[in-house]
């Protein structure tokens, strides 16, 4: 939506197309905040350094510089548009400490920051009169003469497939969380944009880097914000120890997420966990602070885990939360496929490298959404009118009919999705080994084979979620294969990719991005250099 808003300001004809109503987007689930160096003592350079160090030096430093330099103006704009950021006594924006950051630089709206910003950007879209096509599921990108010319999409309400021509397309489809089970991600985070771009020939970058958030609820996998630790919550093991003292003596609970998740997993693996979890203790924050700043997670812990966080610690464990990789773009959202742009979690600029810092994902969507929207508008202004060939629609319709004609048998969309999710969690989790990753690659290939003959039970066309879930599973399997293949090939530990058989970072061989290209036989890997501007890789300690 931020991209569309920027494009509309450049007076091009723009529309938003989404498989759900825009307010249902996964950005709403972002809780803790959004970073910008607004404090008097803080600098954008310090923010950029924290981001680069947090990324374990895999971020492109030119991109991290853009992100952090432009952050303050974008946050101020969000405020001016209407976001009700939490305030200090003097009326200025309040900022809270977050993991891996040298200053308290995370602006927030209680613990509903994503929802608050999402709604405000949507309001601006209405004000600007940008049309939104709600509940349209994109089934492929229309690529003609080596350029993206629009999309082929299915309207959920009618089930009809249509071609929508566009001189420029910006993908902002979010992450691939549903490749894993459990995950903090929404049910709609099925990697659609990544898979669509990949199938259309654009490379996916750094797909092996999957972030596990240190505080997710045991049963449901639902997120409890890093803001809890930002406000001062402790992590305890079964002995009641603040175990982070052993892993990150300076930053303690506010070390970056990869560090904290590894620490938790180690405590659990070594027998100091509590029923497969560790404990997040907020009791000393007091009721008022919890009510004013952390009300959402207070409700979630009560509703989903039956825990009153004011009175007792809540059991949490590392859970799949974010994906650092995505469609390769430059700092203007441009992908290698002409006419195609990407921004947000589905893109890889890369600002997060091997591990993202909390508070940088909402920021990325705003900064690079704006930049991608501007670049796409310029691209559209310079392009000639064209139509999309109807052949692609006919082919898509034929493919859907074939699925609808096959009946649902023992093997179902759900069974394959579950096997994929549990395989990825078991074999591509916080710690990884050669053997397990190789098994995962094999398993995903087997699931892809089985996917080909799946049928559906719902034979109608109106809101056929059976069919939509089938299409989404195809996207997920593409993404899963790229994650597993990229991970198996990377023989080092860096950021969130932590291998027991290669425990050290290896800058000599692996300070480089991986690129996945689609082929009939699965992903083909290539590598490209990391852009370094002012910071040489150092040992990473917190």
């Amino acid at each position: 939506m931020r991209a569309a808003l920027e494009a509309s300001r450049k007076s091009v004809n723009v529309a938003v197309l989404s498989k759900v109503h825009p307010l249902r987007s996964h950005s709403a689930a972002a809780q803790g905040g959004i970073n910008a160096a607004l404090g008097d003592e803080d600098t954008w350079e310090a923010h950029a350094f924290d981001t680069v160090k947090g990324s374990d030096y895999l971020a492109d430093q030119d991109a991290a510089e853009v992100l952090c330099k432009e952050a303050p103006a974008d946050i101020i704009e969000l405020e001016n548009m209407g976001t009700v950021f939490s305030r200090r006594e003097d009326g200025r924006l309040q900022q809270r400490p977050f993991g891996g950051a040298g200053f308290p630089r995370t602006c927030y709206v209680g613990d509903i920051t994503g929802q608050a910003i999402l709604h405000v950007v949507w309001e601006q879209l209405i004000k600007a009169g940008v049309p939104t096509y709600e509940e349209w599921l994109v089934t492929s990108l229309a690529v003609e003469d080596g350029a993206c010319r629009g999309v082929i999409a299915m309207e959920m309400r009618s089930g009809q497939v249509q071609a929508i021509a566009a001189k420029a397309v910006v993908l902002a489809t979010g992450g691939l969380g549903r490749v894993y089970q459990p995950t903090t991600n929404s049910l709609i985070s099925t990697g659609d944009g990544m898979s669509l771009a990949y199938r259309a020939g654009a490379p996916l970058m750094d797909m092996e880097f999957v972030q596990f958030h240190p505080t997710t609820l045991k049963d449901s996998g639902v997120l409890l914000t890093e803001g809890a630790r930002g406000e001062g919550a402790y992590l305890l093991n079964s002995l009641g120890e603040r175990f982070m003292a052993r892993y990150a003596p300076q930053k303690m609970e506010l070390a970056p997420r990869d560090v904290v998740s590894r620490a938790e997993q180690t405590e659990i693996d070594e027998g100091r966990g509590v029923d497969g979890c560790v404990l997040l203790d907020l009791r000393h924050l007091g009721e008022e602070r919890i009510r004013e700043r952390l009300w959402q997670i207070s409700d979630l812990a009560q509703d989903l885990a039956g825990t009153d966080i004011r009175k007792e610690p809540v059991a949490v464990r590392p859970g799949m939360h974010y994906h650092m990789g995505g469609v390769k773009t430059d700092i203007d959202g441009t992908t290698p496929l002409p006419g195609l742009f990407a921004a947000g979690e589905c893109a890889c600029v890369s600002v997060h490298g091997a591990n993202r810092l909390g508070g940088n994902s909402l920021l990325e969507t705003v900064v690079f959404g704006r930049r991608a929207g501007a670049a796409a508008a310029d691209c559209a202004s310079a392009a000639a009118d064209h139509n999309v060939s109807q052949a692609a629609v006919v082919d898509q319709e034929k493919a859907l009919k074939a699925v609808l004609e096959r009946s649902r048998r023992e093997d179902t969309t759900a069974s394959i999705r579950r096997e994929m999710g549990t395989t990825m969690t078991a074999k591509l989790g916080v710690f990884r080994t050669e053997k397990e990753m190789a098994e995962a690659v094999e398993k995903i290939r087997e699931l892809r084979e089985r996917y080909r003959s799946l049928g559906v039970q719902d034979k109608g066309r109106v809101f056929n979620f059976d069919l939509a879930n089938y299409l989404e599973l195809g996207y997920l399997l593409d993404c899963a294969e790229c994650v597993a293949t990229g991970a198996l090939a990377r023989r080092e530990s860096r950021g969130a990719h932590s291998r027991r058989d290669f425990p050290e970072r290896d800058d000599e061989s692996w300070l480089r991005h991986s690129l996945c290209y689609h082929t009939a036989d699965g992903p083909r890997l290539e590598y490209s250099p990391v852009t370094l501007t002012r910071w040489q890789p150092e040992r990473r300690a917190y």
């Binding site: 109503h21 209407g82 950021f85 003097d90 009326g91 200025r92 929802q115 989903l304 179902t412 759900a414």
Partner: protein, 270 residues
């Protein structure tokens, strides 16, 4: 734990007249984990028993607003409602689509009129002058006041169960010409209460017209069903006070309120 759900079905494409009329209920019984929500259960039904069951859902954490539906006769978020809480002894739970909206398929409703009303209140910040160099200075107290209404996730639960709307729709009125209803009015309050917004008078005047703040019957249902504690009716009442303070008294609702107050003051009688 066994969950038993009785789900209202509607399939516009079905050859079966009952399914087309929306009069068909289907019962399911299945084994679910003790922590399962109604949403978890519905998704498990779709995955394993009946792929044709249609419902909207996304975040599973009561923040995206997709999965409002009537559960045991009251609008709730399916992801926030635990099976064990509603049916501690394995009772059957009835699941129906939201009310006051046309049904498209099963639990999926047509929310067009809902969104049209939200758009009708001009839901964006309208500041008086150009923005300052930096952020607007706003007191922490003012942000706390706004936080309650801003917590609205636009799920539609309040509109589903709104008694005024039900009456008007029952009389056959065009949905877009009915009571603006709680969600849109709470959204309007969000801007009127925002110290940065400079269009309070225009907003209050518009909201004082027919189908606006004075059409609420104060039945309190929206407050009861809101899953996010937004208390829409309280915001509507706050808008009424502000409208009267701003001098927008030329309507039946405001005159009634003022006469009422006058009578009580002068005679101490109702």
């Amino acid at each position: 734990m066994e969950a038993r759900l009785r789900v209202r079905r509607f399939d516009p494409e079905s050859g079966d007249a009952d399914a087309r009329s929306g009069a068909r209920y289907q019962s399911y019984a299945l084994e679910v984990p003790g922590y399962a929500t109604v949403l978890d259960t519905l998704l498990q039904i779709r995955d394993d028993l009946d792929g044709s069951l249609a419902l909207r859902c996304s975040c599973r954490s009561a923040i995206c607003g997709s999965c409002a539906m009537r559960i045991n006769g009251q609008a709730r978020l399916a992801c926030k409602t635990k099976v064990s809480a509603l049916a501690p002894n394995g009772e059957e739970i009835t699941v129906e689509p939201m009310g006051n909206m046309p049904v498209i398929k099963d639990l999926v409703t047509d929310m067009a009129s809902f969104w049209n009303k939200v758009k009708a209140i001009e839901p964006w910040l309208q500041t008086a002058g150009p923005p300052p160099q930096r952020e607007y200075l706003v007191s922490p107290e003012a942000t706390h006041d706004l936080t309650q209404v801003m917590g609205c996730i636009m799920c539609g639960a309040c509109v589903s169960d709104c008694a005024t709307l039900e009456t008007e729709l029952g009389l056959g009125k065009d949905p877009d010409a009915t009571f603006l209803a709680p969600a849109a009015l709470a959204k309007a309050y969000r801007f009127v209460a925002d110290p940065r917004d400079g269009a309070d008078n225009e907003r209050l005047l518009a909201l004082s017209r027919a189908e606006g703040i004075w059409d609420c019957t104060r039945c309190n249902i929206c407050v009861e069903v809101c899953p996010k504690g937004v208390a829409p009716m309280d915001q509507i009442l706050a808008l009424r006070r502000k409208a009267i303070e701003a001098g927008y008294e030329e309507n039946l609702g405001a005159r009634h309120t003022l006469e009422f107050e006058k009578t009580v003051r002068e005679s101490a009688w109702l």
